[in-house]
C-alpha cells in the first residue's frame, strides 16, 4: 500500500517533469508564450507527486511497514517517534527522496516567483534545465535507488533500526535537511545561468534575479556544515569537530565556491566585470554539490558518513560530467558576448580586493578538492592506498585562511574603482589600532605561536572593520530618519554581520585546535583528579535502559556539576557506542569520553576516560548562528528606492568615508 502510493508519487513527478520539459521545448521552438506559461502547472504537479511519495514514506516508517525494504533496514518497532521520522534520510534511498522533494519545492517556488515573466525565454530555458535535473533524480528513485522497493523474501517481524550513530542526537533532524536545502538550492541559479547563456542574454539581469536564491542556499549550507561539525563533536567521542573527512570536504567545496561567487557577483552587478568567472563559479558550485553527493553516497570513499553503499555512483558521476561539459561548452560558445566592457582600474579598489578574495577561495577549494580526490586516483591507477589527512590540509588551508582574514579586513573599506591616497590610512586607523592592542594583549596573556597570534590579531582587525561599517551605516540611517536598525539590514550591512560571524568561527577554531589539552585518566569511584584547571570526580556507575538502547553512564562531577558520559548499546548489539558528555562554557569546554570500561560495569569498578579541555569551542556554534543571521539580514530588502532619488549619497567632505545604509540606496 505505502509502496504503491510512493511509486505512484515518484512516477507522477517524473511524468510531470517530462511533460513540462516537452511543453517548454515546444513553446520555445514555436515561440508560443502561452505554452511557456502553462509549464508552471507541471511544476506544481511535480511537487504534488513528491509530497505524496514523502507522505507514503513517513507513513510507512511511523506504521513500521516492514514490507518496504527501506523501512525494514532503517526502522524497528522500538525506534522512537523522532528517529522514525528522521529515518527517511538515514540511508541513501530516502536521502534521494528528500533531495527530490526539496528540489521540486525550489523549482515550483521559482516558477511561482517568475510567473509574470514565464514567457521570457530565459525563464523557459532555466525551467527546462531545472526540470531535467529533477527528472534525473526521479529516475534514480525508479531505478538504482528505489526507496519503495519491496522487502525480498518473508516480511520480517521487526526491522534492524537506524545506525546507532543516527538515533542518539536531535541534530539528525536538522543537519541533513539544512545541508540538502543548501546543496539543492544552487540548482536554481545554475539553471538561470544556463538559461541566459543559451538565449545569449548575458547581461546582469539573471544575476540580480537569482541573488536571493544563491544567498539562501549559501545560508542553509553554512548552517548545515556548522550543525554537522556540532553533531560530530557531540557524537563521535574524540573531542574534534572537523576531520578533513572526504564527506566533510564534499560539503565544504561548494560552500567555498559559492562564497567566492557571492563576492564576485557584486563586482559584476556593479561594474559588469568578471562575467566568465562568475558563470564558472556557479557551474563549479552546482557541479561540486553533485560531486559531493557522489562521494558521500556511492561508496567510493569510506568515512564516518558513508552510511550506505549503492550502485548510483555511475549515474551521479555522469550527471557531474554532463554539468561540467554543458557549463564549459556554453561559456566557451558565448565567450564573445561575455567580454567585459571595462577592466579593473586599480588593484587598491573594492573590485581588486574581491578578485584577490576570489583567487584565495579558488585556491582553497582547489587544495581541498585535490586532497579529497587524489587518494581515489592513486587507488584507481596504482591500486595503492594513500591517506591524506590533517597535516596536508592544514599546511595549505591555514595560510590561505590567514590571508582571507586579512582581505576581509581591508576590502570592506575600499571604495569602488580606485582608492584615493590616504583613504585606507584614514579608514583603517582605528580598526588597525584595535587589532594591534588585541595582539599585544594576546602576547601579554601568554599566547605563543605565529598562527594563533595572526589569527587573533587579524580576526580583531576584520571584526573591528565590520563593526565600524555597521556603526557608520546605523548613524547615516538614523540621520536620514529611518531608524538606526536599518544599519544592519541590506546586503552590505548584512554582509558585515556575516563577517563578524566568520571571525567568531575563525577565533573559536584557532583556539580550540591550538590550545586543546587532552589526557587519559583512570578513576576509582569517589576519586577526584584535577586537569587543566578543572576538578573531576567519579561518582559511580548507573545503568539506564530506554526501549531501544541499554546504556551505562559513568557519573562524574566536573567543578561540582553533574556530568555523565556513557556507553550505549543499541538493540542489543554487542558493540557499545561511546556517548561523550560535554560541559560547555563561554571560556572552555570539558569533554569526557569513556575510553575503557568493563562490559557490564558493577558499581565499584573503575573507569578510564579521555578528558579533552578545549577553549572557546562554543564560539564556533555562536559564530555559525551569527553568520546565518547575517545572511538573512543581507537578504532582506532595504527600503525601495524611488526612481527619482539620487543614486549616490550626497554627503560632502566625508562622503567617501561612509558605507551606504540599507534603505537609502538599494
Amino acid at each position: 500500500m505505502n509502496g504503491a502510493l510512493g511509486h505512484a508519487g515518484v512516477i507522477l513527478s517524473l511524468l510531470a517533469a517530462c511533460a513540462g520539459v516537452a511543453t517548454l521545448a515546444l513553446g520555445l521552438a514555436t515561440r508560443r508564450p502561452e505554452l511557456l506559461a502553462r509549464s508552471r502547472a507541471y511544476a506544481y504537479l511535480m511537487v504534488g507527486g513528491m509530497v505524496l511519495a514523502t507522505v507514503a514514506m513517513e507513513h510507512a516508517l511511523l506504521a513500521h511497514d516492514f514490507s518496504l525494504a527501506f523501512v525494514a533496514d532503517n526502522n524497528s518497532r522500538e525506534t522512537p517517534l523522532l528517529y522514525s521520522i528522521t529515518g527517511m534520510w538515514s540511508a541513501l534511498q530516502g536521502s534521494i527522496l528528500l533531495w527530490s522533494l526539496i528540489l521540486s519545492g525550489y523549482i515550483a517556488y521559482a516558477a511561482h516567483r517568475f510567473r509574470h515573466r514565464a514567457s521570457d525565454p530565459v525563464v523557459g530555458w532555466a525551467t527546462i534545465v531545472a526540470l531535467v535535473v529533477a527528472a534525473f533524480f526521479f529516475a534514480l528513485m525508479l531505478g538504482p535507488s528505489d526507496p519503495f522497493a519491496a522487502t525480498v523474501g518473508a516480511i520480517p517481524h521487526d526491522g534492524t533500526g537506524p545506525n546507532a550513530l543516527l538515533q542518539d542526537n536531535l541534530l539528525i533532524a536538522f543537519h541533513p535537511v539544512f545541508l540538502y536545502l543548501g546543496f539543492v538550492g544552487f540548482t536554481i541559479p545554475f539553471a538561470f545561468a544556463v538559461g541566459s547563456l543559451v538565449t545569449g542574454r548575458v547581461g546582469e539581469g539573471w544575476l540580480t534575479e537569482t541573488r536571493r536564491f544563491t544567498l539562501f542556499a549559501w545560508a542553509f549550507l553554512t548552517i548545515g556544515i556548522v550543525l554537522g561539525a556540532w553533531w560530530s563533536y557531540q557524537e563521535l567521542g574524540w573531542g574534534g569537530f572537523w576531520g578533513w573527512d572526504p564527506v566533510e570536504n564534499a560539503a565544504l567545496l561548494p560552500w567555498l565556491t559559492a562564497t567566492a561567487y557571492l563576492h564576485s557577483a557584486m563586482v559584476q552587478e556593479r561594474r559588469g566585470l568578471l562575467r566568465v568567472w562568475n558563470l564558472s563559479l556557479l557551474v563549479a558550485t552546482f557541479a561540486l554539490t553533485i560531486l559531493g553527493t557522489f562521494l558521500t553516497r556511492s561508496g567510493v570513499t569510506q568515512s564516518v558518513h558513508s552510511f550506505s553503499n549503492s550502485g548510483i555512483g555511475p549515474a551521479l558521476i555522469g550527471l557531474f560530467a554532463a554539468i561540467v561539459a554543458v557549463g564549459v561548452g556554453l561559456i566557451g560558445w558565448r565567450g564573445d558576448r561575455l567580454r567585459s566592457p571595462g577592466s579593473i582600474d586599480a588593484p587598491a579598489s573594492r573590485e581588486g580586493a574581491f578578485l584577490v578574495n576570489n583567487l584565495l577561495f579558488a585556491a582553497f577549494a582547489a587544495v581541498v578538492l585535490l586532497g579529497t580526490v587524489f587518494p581515489l586516483f592513486v587507488q584507481a591507477i596504482n591500486n595503492q592506498s594513500l591517506s591524506i589527512g590533517r597535516p596536508f590540509f592544514d599546511a595549505f588551508t591555514v595560510p590561505l585562511g590567514i590571508a582571507l582574514l586579512f582581505f576581509m579586513s581591508v576590502a570592506p573599506v575600499l571604495p569602488w574603482r580606485k582608492a584615493a591616497p590616504g583613504v585606507l590610512r584614514r579608514r583603517l586607523a582605528v580598526p588597525a589600532w584595535i587589532a594591534a592592542l588585541v595582539l599585544v594583549a594576546c602576547v601579554a596573556g601568554g599566547i605563543r605561536g605565529l598562527t594563533p597570534l595572526l589569527a587573533f590579531g587579524l580576526g580583531a582587525f576584520a571584526a573591528a572593520v565590520a563593526g565600524r561599517q555597521l556603526v557608520l551605516a546605523a548613524i547615516v540611517s538614523h540621520r536620514h530618519g529611518y531608524g538606526a536598525w536599518r544599519g544592519v539590514v541590506g546586503r552590505a550591512n548584512g554582509g558585515m554581520v556575516v563577517h563578524i560571524g566568520v571571525v567568531l568561527i575563525a577565533v573559536g577554531l584557532t583556539a580550540a585546535t591550538s590550545f586543546a589539552h587532552s589526557t587519559e585518566r583512570s578513576f576509582r569511584p569517589g576519586e577526584t583528579l584535577r586537569f587543566d584547571g578543572h576538578a573531576l570526580t567519579f561518582v559511580g556507575w548507573r545503568q539506564v535502559t530506554i526501549p531501544s538502547e541499554k546504556a551505562y553512564e559513568a557519573q562524574f562531577r566536573v567543578d561540582g556539576a553533574p556530568f555523565s558520559p556513557g556507553i550505549g548499546s543499541f538493540n542489543g548489539s554487542a558493540q557499545g557506542t561511546d556517548i561523550p558528555a560535554v560541559d560547555s562554557s563561554l571560556v572552555d569546554d570539558v569533554y569526557l569520553s569513556i575510553g575503557y570500561a568493563p562490559a557490564s560495569p558493577r558499581p565499584g569498578q573503575a573507569v578510564t576516560v579521555d578528558i579533552y579541555v578545549q577553549p572557546l569551542v562554543l564560539w564556533l556554534w555562536v559564530g555559525g548562528a551569527v553568520t546565518a543571521g547575517g545572511a538573512v539580514l543581507a537578504a532582506l530588502p532595504g527600503r525601495r528606492r524611488r526612481p527619482t532619488d539620487p543614486v549616490s549619497v550626497p554627503i560632502p567632505e566625508i562622503a567617501d568615508d561612509l558605507p551606504v545604509p540599507a534603505g537609502i540606496v538599494t
Binding site: 540580480t208 590533517r390 597535516p391
Partner: protein, 202 residues
C-alpha cells in the same frame, strides 16, 4: 594607547586633530608594535614540550583500523595501543623522524596521515604558480590595451548602421531606443544593467 586617546582620534577623520591616528607616524608606530608583538610571540614559545611532541605525533599517525582518522581522533583499541607506544618511544628518547620511520615500517606508507609522496605537495604549489602567472599575463595584456584599441572600421560600420536604422525609424529619444546590433550582439548588455534592470518585474 588608551581608550581615552582613541575616542578623539577617531574623530580626526576631518584632519583637524593634532596627533592623529591616521598620520604616517602613527602607522609606523603601529607597524613596529605589530612586528614586535609577532616576533616576540612566535619566538619566545619555549622549547617543544613532551606533550607537544606526543600531540603532534598522535595527529600524524593514522589509526590502523580507521579511514583517514589519526590515532588522536579514534577510540579504537588499536589506536589506543599505538598512542601508548608513541608515549613509550618518546620517553625512550627517540626523535619524531625515528618514530615516524617505525610507524612506516609497521604499517607501510599508509600508516602516516601526512602523505609521503612529493607529488601531492608539489601539485598545489605548481598549480598556484601557474595560476598567478596566467593572471599576470592576462592583466598585463589587458593593460597594454589590446581591448581598448581605437575603434576599427568594423566598429564604425556598426555605428553607422545603428544611426541609419534609428533615423529611419524616426526615434528621437535615443535614451529609450533599443540598440539593435546588426551583428546580433546584445549591445544593451554592454552598459551594465540597463536593459535587464528595466525588465525586472518587481
Amino acid at each position: 594607547m588608551s581608550a581615552a586617546t582613541l575616542a578623539p582620534a577617531a574623530r580626526s577623520r576631518n584632519r583637524r586633530a593634532g596627533f592623529a591616528l591616521t598620520s604616517r607616524w602613527s602607522w609606523m608606530l603601529l607597524a613596529l608594535v605589530v612586528a614586535g608583538a609577532l616576533v616576540f610571540g612566535s619566538t619566545h614559545s619555549g622549547s617543544t614540550t613532551r606533550a607537544d611532541r606526543i600531540r603532534y605525533l598522535d595527529s600524524v599517525i593514522k589509526c590502523p583500523v580507521c579511514e583517514d582518522v589519526s590515532i588522536a581522533g579514534s577510540n579504537a583499541q588499536q589506536a589506543r595501543n599505538l598512542r601508548a607506544k608513541v608515549v613509550e618511544l618518546v620517553d625512550a628518547g627517540r626523535t619524531d623522524a625515528q618514530i615516524e620511520k617505525y610507524v612506516v615500517a609497521q604499517f607501510g606508507t599508509d600508516g602516516l596521515l601526512r602523505p609521503t609522496s612529493p607529488v601531492i605537495w608539489l601539485l598545489p604549489i605548481a598549480g598556484g604558480a601557474v595560476a598567478v602567472l596566467a593572471l599576470g599575463v592576462a592583466l598585463s595584456r589587458r593593460r597594454s590595451g589590446s581591448y581598448e584599441s581605437a575603434p576599427g572600421s568594423e566598429d564604425e560600420a556598426i555605428v553607422v548602421a545603428a544611426i541609419a536604422g534609428r533615423s529611419r525609424a524616426g526615434t528621437r529619444n535615443g535614451a529609450n531606443a533599443s540598440l539593435d546590433d546588426p551583428f546580433g550582439r546584445d549591445l544593451n548588455g554592454l552598459d551594465g544593467r540597463s536593459v535587464d534592470a528595466g525588465d525586472r518585474d518587481r
